[in-house]
């Protein structure tokens, strides 16, 4: 559980120090006041990236050279200092060199309006979601993924360089498959668990009769060097993985309504939390950014029910009336405009 959040020069915040108890905290304020940035900072300390489409450079306060995030949680202190070209991570005041040793210390799940991209958006978004979830569950999977990415970049450099050496292409392809195939087996099992939870959550939140189904389509390993040289990039493996999502048996891209997409996005995030919870690992911190406001009261209440009561929740709302009734004892922190 997060007890303390310290920020320096993060987004619009100069210096901030906030303390939290257990339960839910709701940051309430107008747009642009920096309430989402507070959630973003927590997420960044956990996952080393933003839940918005933003680079770390975008998160440095205007005119400042760097930003700093400090988190005091039960039994652990996390620190991130980011400046252009340099990122320093620390755990309990000790410097951490490799992101693989840091990642997973503060598991978090964010629900944002952009989550609809998991369903109707580019396949790369769904792949990133899957990679992050697999890595939160298992540090070994994270290490394997980092190795896989290194192999993929080496292969990319080889393909981009024109006529690649056949033997070198073979060596890299063999390793890519050796590293990637076990990751795909793991993801297949993971999506199976995720799909069960997501179907249940979708039913809860939509109250409807149609079903949400999710299936994993692993990228093939059949490949030909000449095809890849022509394409100038890798055409196999995890880069070709896809999540096949259907609402009421139909692909949602064309057939689903805005409300269905939004419900499905929430269901997938709820399933993410459930999978992490079932894995018996640390319960994730749940960050709900600007989502309550775009739901009707029934779905707002359903979402509040889907979040495990023992999980620490941080939410943002522009209007205090959007806080679900089930979170009546939430601590509401006003975030005034700057």
């Amino acid at each position: 559980m997060i007890r303390e959040l310290l920020l320096r020069d993060f987004r619009c915040h100069g210096r901030v120090r906030l303390e939290f108890g257990g339960g839910a905290t709701v940051f309430c304020g107008p747009n642009g006041a920096g309430k989402s940035a507070l959630l973003e900072a927590i997420y960044f300390a956990g996952r080393l990236r933003s839940f918005r489409a933003a680079t770390p450079r975008d998160m440095v306060r205007r005119g400042a050279p760097s930003f700093e995030i400090g988190i005091g949680a039960d039994g652990v202190r996390l620190g991130v200092v980011w400046s252009a070209g340099d990122r320093r991570l620390s755990l309990n005041e000790g410097e951490i060199r490799s992101a693989a040793d840091y990642w997973g210390t503060l598991p978090c799940v964010a629900l944002t309006p952009a989550d609809v991209r998991l369903i109707g958006g580019p396949a790369a978004d769904a792949r990133r979601f899957l990679s992050a979830l697999a890595s939160q569950l298992d540090r070994g999977a994270l290490r394997a993924l980092l190795r896989y990415r290194r192999l993929a970049s080496q292969r990319q450099a080889l393909l981009a360089g024109g006529r690649p050496d056949r033997g070198l292409w073979d060596s890299l392809t063999l390793q890519l498959r050796e590293t990637g195939a076990p990751l795909q087996r793991q993801r297949r099992a993971l999506v199976r668990r995720l799909a069960v939870h997501a179907a249940r959550a979708y039913h809860e939140i939509s109250g409807g009769t149609e079903a949400l189904s999710i299936a994993y389509r692993p990228g093939s390993w059949d490949t030909d060097m000449d095809d890849e040289v022509r394409a100038g990039r890798t055409l196999v493996g995890l880069q070709r993985d896809a999540l096949q999502i259907a609402i009421g048996g139909a692909p949602p891209r064309r057939h689903a309504s805005e409300g269905q997409l939004r419900s499905a996005a929430i269901a997938i995030r709820a399933a993410e939390i459930a999978v992490l919870r079932a894995a018996g690992a640390q319960l994730p911190v749940v960050l709900v950014d600007d989502v309550f406001g775009e739901l009707d009261p029934a779905r707002r209440a359903a979402l509040a029910r889907l979040i495990p009561p023992e999980a620490q929740l941080f939410a943002t709302v522009a209007d205090g009336r959007w806080v679900p009734e089930t979170l009546a004892d939430a601590r509401v922190v006003p975030v005034p405009p700057h």
Partner: protein
């Protein structure tokens, strides 16, 4: 605040370029050199000059050798010519020698395959290795490269190139951490790893 004279600062700056030497240590070393009663600093300067002038890669294996001669390992008749150990750089020979298990000869590649850094097969002593295997006819080639992506890629590539030459290609097994470089492994781990070699690409 006054500083040391420029010539001492120059000496300290030079010492600081040595691995593991920080600013404070470099300054202390420079002052020790100045205070020396005997002529050891002059001898040290001579030794540095001589080493830099005489030492070059061995014409056969690439390890450190003096003058035009082959290195000590290549000249040692007691070394086992039936096993050839391939390493990335001459530095990597030292931890293996310290482990004291390996009695064969070496071949230093001068790097690892890495398309990202524009290092291809022609940039490394891979052709020379194939020539040695043909000429010297070892029964086994041990690929003792790091287990990072680049080391593994180089091992696989060379194993493939050697396939037609009917030589057994192995690699050290057990104990080497995946993703680690040879440099950080301790002698015990490395010694054990060399006793349990495995085929590459099998």
């Amino acid at each position: 605040m006054s500083d040391l004279p420029p010539s001492v600062r120059r000496l300290a700056d030079g010492l600081r370029r040595l691995p593991g030497i920080g600013a404070r240590n470099a300054q202390r070393m420079a002052i020790a050199v100045l205070r020396a009663r005997e002529g050891w600093p002059e001898e040290l300067a001579d030794a540095i000059r001589a080493a830099r002038g005489n030492v070059r890669p061995c014409g056969r294996c690439g390890f450190f050798a003096e003058g035009d001669a082959l290195c000590e390992i290549c000249r040692d008749p007691k070394r086992d010519g039936a096993v050839l150990c391939v390493v990335e750089t001459a530095n990597d020979v030292l931890p293996i020698e310290r482990a004291g298990v390996f009695r064969g000869r070496y071949h230093c590649l001068g790097g690892k395959l890495s398309p990202i850094h524009n290092v291809g097969p022609d940039d490394l002593a891979i052709g020379a290795l194939l020539g040695r295997v043909r000429d010297e006819g070892p029964a086994e080639v041990v690929m003792a490269l790091g287990t990072d992506v680049e080391g593994e890629t180089t091992s696989l590539y060379i194993a493939q190139q050697l396939r037609s030459l009917s030589v057994r290609v192995t690699r050290p097994a057990m104990g080497l951490p995946m993703g680690g470089s040879l440099d950080v492994a301790d002698a015990l781990t490395l010694g054990r790893a060399l006793q349990h070699r495995q085929d590459v690409g099998a």
